[in-house]
Symmetry: C2
Subunit: 341 residues, 2 copies
């Protein structure tokens, strides 16, 4: 458990106005917002959707009570909004996917609610689905995208829109225009890296380095870029053969493999853009996610000639607040709500 409290600017705006939950597969993060949409308290729990003891609605309720019950004791009637895998079939209650193109309004229209044992109402944000021959889905990332757009309303307003990358276990790339997620693609890059390192022959010769080896990472990206036709199944084996031939040190092999995988992800992105007549290097591009991982993607994009990627800050917190505002759970974006108003 971690708890952090920010300095409170004044008594009025510090009045809690919203509890929001980023409840994913592996963890729960809870935010308490002031009336300006600034988180004044944050809590993390390891009880992700796959780790809620026993599962089922009662178990989710119990985790929620343990994490946020005292906030509701102090401010009864606070609205609660949740996003992420908590709205999946394995979550607290299923919030059916909304189809692309989808923006904040479609997410608000798709909110479903669940009433807790103490009588609090929790609104759950739906995920987004792209149907077609090969369907694709997201849960949680839609809220981050809304948050990134909230911080810069001009994003994605030009002709080609903006490409938003969300690195991670299941990395997503979304094409966003005029506030709508038009289409997106999932890449299992993060999960594949973890299983290759932990469960295949490639991990056997790896040693953890003292710090990330940026050179080895960029080398992997460049190798993947040069071997786009040879593909991932073949190039990953070079992690082993370069080691066998003393051309890749054990403590560089992990970063090299990470570069290979992210390089192949960008090969695919590049090809998907090329099919639409767009050059990756010219495409406005925003990254959302863990700082260290986004920094790897910035390096990898440079290998592909893209030198102007930006990284969005606090996309989750902003997205949750934005959706709560649009849904009328809080009075309005940034407008203070005080007892004496």
């Amino acid at each position: 458990m971690t708890t952090s409290t920010r300095p409170v600017p004044d008594a009025c705006s510090a009045a809690p106005s919203l509890i929001a939950l980023d409840w994913g597969t592996t963890s729960l993060r809870a935010y308490l917002y002031d009336a300006h949409g600034v988180p004044i308290d944050t809590r993390s729990r390891a009880a992700g959707v796959m780790h809620v003891p026993g599962g089922g609605a009662r178990a989710f309720d119990a985790v929620f009570e343990e994490a946020c019950g005292d906030w509701l004791d102090r401010t009864p009637g606070l609205p609660v909004l949740a996003a992420g895998m908590v709205g999946s079939a394995q979550g607290w209650r299923e919030a059916p996917y909304v189809a692309v193109p989808a923006g904040a309004d479609a997410l608000v229209a798709g909110l479903i609610t669940v009433t807790t044992a103490r009588g609090a109402t929790v609104s759950i944000v739906p995920g987004v689905i792209a149907t077609g021959d090969l369907p694709d889905v997201m849960r949680g990332e839609e809220t981050q995208i809304v948050g990134a757009l909230a911080s810069d309303p001009t994003l994605g307003a030009d002709r080609s829109g903006v490409l938003i990358g969300l690195p991670g276990t299941h990395a997503k790339w979304a094409w966003v225009k005029d506030g709508l997620i038009e289409r997106f693609q999932t890449f299992m890059t993060g999960e594949l890296f973890a299983v290759l390192r932990d469960h295949t022959i490639l991990g056997r010769t790896m040693r953890a380095g003292a710090s990330p080896d940026r050179g080895a990472f960029v080398r992997g990206v460049a190798v993947a870029r040069g071997a786009r036709h040879t593909g991932l199944l073949a190039t990953i084996f070079s992690t082993r053969t370069l080691g066998l031939t003393d051309r890749l040190a054990p403590d560089a092999q992990g970063d090299y493999l990470s570069g290979l995988l992210i390089g192949h992800e960008l090969n695919a992105l590049d090809a998907m853009l090329a099919e639409r007549g767009i050059a990756l290097a010219d495409q406005p591009l925003l990254l959302i996610g863990d700082g260290g991982l986004c920094s790897r993607y910035v390096d990898a994009l440079q290998v592909f000639g893209h030198a102007h990627a930006r990284v969005a800050a606090q996309a989750t917190e902003r997205g949750l607040w934005r959706i709560a505002s649009r849904a009328g759970l809080v009075r309005a974006d940034g407008e203070p709500v005080c007892a004496d108003q």
Copy 2:
């Protein structure tokens, strides 16, 4: 442990002439040959190179003694030949790789020997290395290729040579001409399939079917073929999303994923051939390996327009015998060696 004995044709040719070991990462298979190069006894042990208790030369010697000691008791002085990971740095003794182009003669020239505690001499076949920007290696497959060529001396004699596929944990595709392995490429297809099924989210919704689902497999191959630019990292996620949208039954997901991976392997093979101006569909092609797996590849190749793949039988046994003959460990190919000759 398994033991099988074939009918012995006559007393002369039944005299044992060679012990040969196919000693790979996960298992040891030992063959006792008659004077015609026909295996008259076969034994399997789970003591693959990664499972030899304790490791080290003494441990390998002990496993060998347990498996083959009685053969040597009965026919002292029998020559012994071994191929596979037993010749790697983690094996009994390292047999340095020989470089492509390499055929039976180069393998014979690269044999190294180890003397056992009882004084038997074991000759170990070297692996093959393709050097270059991304080196590649094989150990054991070179012996199978020699065996396939031994069964049909016209193979690979025409202008374009023959393409030999060896499906498995680390699938290999080798270009062979005039008896020489000219180049080859490893694909981690089998190992990747196993870790995706056993350790990622894709395995969670899979159920084992009563029998292989050929339709789901071919569907996966076709999807991969149609998504060659989108690549493996993206298309594998469709195993999950097609399941989520009720378009792929749990008991079909494993075969679908297998089809996706083998389809991406063939995408790469197709592209590598195209770079040399060769169409996969027109390429003479031979498969070596497990019957069920080769049958999958035959199906997958048909999706790629290749309808004339052949499957080689007993490539390992024939390759070991052929190399022993060339090395002079046995008198000559197929020539009977009798006590009274």
